[in-house]
């Protein structure tokens, strides 16, 4: 294998599994160390720079960082990254004086943002400090989009949304609430220099089976629309028997909300087995903890109507399998079952709808109903129109919407600076030795064996009576400190200098997880087999040094490195050093 080029920032970036997995590349270990140090406000600001909504995401993020966390490969469970983020939001001081200054004199470019969800707000957050003039259009009465309308208050209190959307609106965004944009053409005709569309994926999919026409959407509701009704106080109660169709996170939110509005008997019915559900494991756990049964392998057939009223739903029991091409196959068993209900909530997916974007605007659509959008620049086929969030590539999650907002803002700023949108700027990086003394590091190198802490909940009996009482209490400071110390500091990289190595074996002998080997160089498959412990996890890279005096190379399997620094501590010549790697994803205004 060729020697590893650690000069390429992506090599060390990939070692920081959590940051690499985060769509917005939040420097996770950096803020976790600050939480451990009790510097909550500093930790909050690092988050705010990267992901804009730390308080919201600390409660609701899909947390792609956690399955990626190295701790999960070393022991059972990853660091509770998401809930640590909430700790810094809960405990921070006032941050207004730390927010970027907004120039009084504008740069002359006027932008329209459609929808006040996370992606649009991110565009505003990134571009307001650069002097853009921004008009924000939102059909609802308040900002937040999906975050406000679709996530129940018992998971995400309204005041958190108000606070974090407020930081952006207060930058001087011209907000037009209760204003639905009915025509893109009309908007463009107002003379905006560019339009960003972050209107989300507003409509949930309906399911018009026999019987639907009698009810006509009265007690057969699209889940996300019903959740929005609840959020805005239009729906305040719920019948006794409710069924929810669908196995995603929205389904989980629907049934837990129904329970809080007075339903006695809530069931989730899904076409697949439970282990093939879309919902996040933890959301399924929380749902089941509230006593909601999940009935698997139920394929809906028709709505049962008696005396013009919905009284149940008929299902066919099916067998689920995956065929050779990896496609799902549903085989009918011939058995049918009727489940009684007075309300059906449909959470079977979302569809985009852009009836307001006219053909003559030049925005082209593909056959899935989505606009043709460049995945890097977020530009549509009309160079003045950009897309982000669920409106761009279909429903994802908040953190993805934020990441896309950053990219779109960068593209917009590059466009107005006459730059090629496809030549993206490099990330900001910094690599700094953590050596404090002969055997002393400026980070807590010792690895605790503490197990993952569960977030405390309010009493269930109490919680169930209110749909606005937050169920999770968040970590207290002491628990947060213990949880923060579980972080392995993967951003403190092991940096090797061939010229200093005397091949004394000290690092090999001390490494607790046997990730270092001196060996003859060969091709990757062979090398992976020849290591002290073979490296079977192909998703993790091998570091290969240049040739050493004995003709061998130093190979490091990044897979389960604890970043404990012992290799560097036992190295007599400092050929190994522990150096903190800071990776800052490029943002608007930072390109040269």
């Amino acid at each position: 294998m060729k020697p590893t080029n650690v000069g390429n920032p992506e090599y060390f970036h990939k070692v920081v599994d959590c940051q690499f997995a985060c769509p917005a590349h939040t420097p996770v270990p950096e803020y976790i160390r600050l939480i451990a140090a009790g510097r909550y406000t500093d930790a909050y600001m690092i988050n705010w720079e990267s992901n804009v909504f730390p308080g919201i995401l600390g409660r609701t993020c899909d947390r792609p960082c956690e399955p990626a966390c190295r701790r999960g490969r070393v022991e059972d469970k990853p660091v509770a990254i998401c809930r640590l983020k909430r700790v810094c939001a809960d405990n921070k001081d006032a941050i207004k004086d730390r927010l970027p200054k907004i120039p009084k004199e504008k740069n002359g470019h006027r932008l329209a943002l459609v929808g006040a969800g996370p992606s649009s707000l991110t565009v505003a957050r990134d571009l307001m400090p650069l002097g853009y003039e921004i008009d924000l259009y939102e059909a609802n009465g308040k900002a937040g989009g999906f975050m406000r309308t679709q996530i129940p208050s018992f998971r995400l209190p309204e005041k958190v949304i108000d606070e974090e959307t407020g930081y952006i609106l207060d930058m001087g965004v011209n907000s037009f609430f209760n204003t639905r944009v009915e025509s893109l053409k009309a908007l463009l005709d107002q003379g905006y220099d560019a339009v960003f569309i972050g209107s989300g994926a507003p409509s949930g999919r309906n399911l018009k089976l026999p019987g639907y026409e009698v009810d006509d959407g009265e007690n057969i509701r699209v889940g996300v629309e019903w959740l929005a009704d609840v959020a805005f106080g239009h729906a305040t109660e719920c019948p006794k028997d409710v069924i929810v169709l669908g196995g995603g996170n929205t389904a989980m939110d629907c049934c837990r909300t129904a329970l809080r509005l007075g339903a006695k008997n809530v069931k989730i019915l899904i076409r697949t087995p439970i282990d093939a559900m879309m919902a996040s494991e933890w959301e399924v756990e929380d749902t089941q903890a509230e006593g909601i049964p999940i009935l698997e392998n139920h394929n809906p057939q028709e709505y049962v109507i008696r005396d013009g009223k919905l009284v149940g739903m008929q299902f066919e029991i099916i067998e689920y399998s995956i065929d050779a091409d990896g496609r799902e196959v549903f085989t009918p068993t011939g058995r049918n079952e009727v489940v009684d209900c007075e309300l059906v909530l449909l959470a079977i997916g979302q569809a985009n709808a852009f009836p307001w974007i006219e053909k003559e605007t030049g925005v082209e659509f593909n056959d899935t109903g989505l606009a043709v959008v460049d995945p890097v620049t977020h530009q549509s086929t009309n160079p003045k129109v950009f897309f982000g969030g669920d409106a761009a590539f279909g429903p994802r999650n908040i953190i993805t919407a934020v990441a896309q907002g950053h990219q779109a803002a960068l593209s917009l700023d590059m466009m107005f600076n006459g730059q090629d949108l496809h030549v993206r700027p490099n990330p900001g990086t910094n690599l700094l030795s953590q050596k404090m003394g002969i055997h002393d590091w400026s980070y807590a190198s010792m690895v605790t064996e503490e197990e993952r802490h569960a977030v405390p909940h309010v009493d269930l009996d109490e919680a169930i009576h209110s749909h606005t009482m937050e169920v999770e209490l968040g970590f207290d400071a002491a628990t947060a400190l213990e949880e923060a110390q579980r972080c392995l500091n993967c951003d403190v990289e092991t940096v090797f200098s061939e010229s200093k190595c005397i091949e004394c074996d000290a690092c090999i002998d001390i490494c607790p997880v046997d990730c270092l080997t001196f060996t003859e160089n060969s091709d990757e498959a062979k090398l992976r087999k020849n290591l002290n412990v073979p490296a079977h996890n192909l998703s993790q890279d091998l570091f290969i040094s240049h040739d050493l005096p004995t003709g061998r190379v130093m190979v490091k399997d990044e897979d389960v490195c604890l970043h404990c620094g012992l290799c560097a501590e036992r190295c007599p010549t400092s050929a190994w050093d522990m150096q903190k790697f800071l990776y800052v994803a490029p943002k608007a205004g930072q390109q040269s």
Binding site: R73, V74, E75, I438, H439, D440, S445, M446, V447, E449, I502, E503, C504, D505, A506, I508, D509, I510, P512, V513, D514, C515, V533, P534, H536, P549, T550, V560, L562, C564, G565, L566, E569, R570, C571, P572, T573
Partner: protein
Amino acid sequence: MSYAIPGFRHPNLPKNELGYTAKDYEGRVSTLCAGCGHDSISAAIREACFGMSIPPHRVAKLSGIGCSSKTPTYFLGNSHGFNSVHGRMPAVATGGNMANRNLLYIGVSGDGDTASIGMGQFVHAVRRNVNMVYICENNGVYGLTKGQDSATTDVGSVSKKGEPNALEPIDLCAIALQLGATFVANSFSGDKSQLVPIIQAAIAHKGFAFINVISPCVTFNNVPGSTKAYDYIRQHMASTNTVDFVPAEEEITTDYAPGTSEVVTMHDGSAIHLQKMDEKLDIHSRRSALALMQEYKAEDKVLTGLLFVDPDSQEIHETMNTTATPLRNLTEKELCPGSEQLQKINDQLR
């Protein structure tokens, strides 16, 4: 400075026949200087014992005084240990071995502990052929007292102090050979592929197995001009043979070109497979080993590898015809047979 290492190990760590992983053969974290050759030797002992599936509780580690003699703390943390008076490890090992012949005795010493203060003890352990592994971690310097030349420092070798050594060195391998040691090897801490099988062969050997391991002192004796520095050894090292240790149960699978390899079968059925690097060495002849060592020394080369082995050696218990039961297990019943027996013995002598 870390005085403990994290508790986590690689999730795919292999297990040996006893179901143990390498973790079960670890000791405490070394407090020796970073990069000390001794730590590599500790690692080699761990690896050798793990590989041979030796039950850690059946091992006794013995040492004297010095950097080398601290190291038993850093391997086999679940074994017995005795850190004795300076240079007196061989006496303690001999006594222990007399009392309980069923344990595996691993003695660890240094050039000071063996070639200076302990010389009188060392030579007698050799000639008695005590059944033990004796490892001398030889760095040619008194590290613990700040770097004076030792009795094994070569003439002209320069340590960190800068003064060339004027006195003739003691060659411990040569002395062991002359005094009748039944297993003699010379090795280097920086070459585990050679050291580990040599330690395994020494463990399998019945009788006194001596391994001199050149182990650079990074703090006082790893400078240009020293003949026991990492660079010097790597440049001047020559091997008699490559060594493969094959446990009794395993089949020899490696193919060697005929005429260049040799299999030495040990008393327990295990085998040492040697791939000869120098045709002249007869592994069963002391004279051959001594001659070859002189020859390489004259060429400024350090001869390593297995130098001599007598697989049929008679260890001290056999020579003394002691009982197969460890002496410590004998009770009053066996040791005091009663006045009737005493009368019989006395009668024989009248």
